[in-house]
Symmetry: C2
Subunit: 121 residues, 2 copies
Amino acid sequence: MATTAVDVKELANSYVFVADMPGLKHSDIKVQVENDNVLKISGERRREDAVQDGEVKYVRVERSAGKFMRKFNLPTNANLDQISAGCQDGLLTIVVPKMPPPDIYRPRTFDVNVTSGNLGQ
Amino acid sequence: MATTAVDVKELANSYVFVADMPGLKHSDIKVQVENDNVLKISGERRREDAVQDGEVKYVRVERSAGKFMRKFNLPTNANLDQISAGCQDGLLTIVVPKMPPPDIYRPRTFDVNVTSGNLGQ
């Protein structure tokens, strides 16, 4: 499994996920929503060439390779229909907009007219 | 300090250094040769926005940020004048060609003519 570091930040109107994807293009990465509340990022990092082809000898191996998968619970106010994702310079950015807040319940205070006479009797 | 994973591999005619640089462009990275035998890679990874600006709240921070610097001893047969480096999709690749091998010393075996008469006497 390849390691994949992810930052998550909250802005006024959205949540933003930023993931390190060095060497990957947007077509190498899969972004999905599962069960309406889980954001799933998956893919595979391959070495550029095979060790076993005999012409390449690895002197040092620090970069992780292999399949990767990360899952994140999405907040209840995530607008699932408006999620967008882009990849540039090996950095994946996923923007999850927030739903507009529901109308807030405010206890009302108002006057009721008092007229002379019986009420509908 | 930001972490920077580097692979080093040896090919028939060159050494290749591959470094993860997610989010960095080629202009953000410095590649130098020191004292004719040390390859130095340095730069800085910055977060895309400042935490202290009040509008961004980091919910999760896994990606490393800050300055980075890596040094590698170069083999004696490295051709320093032909080193090239490129950065694409957050991946830095440095190619250090090998010098052509020096002429190999081979003990010689050959005939010496034997003539009649004294040698220069």
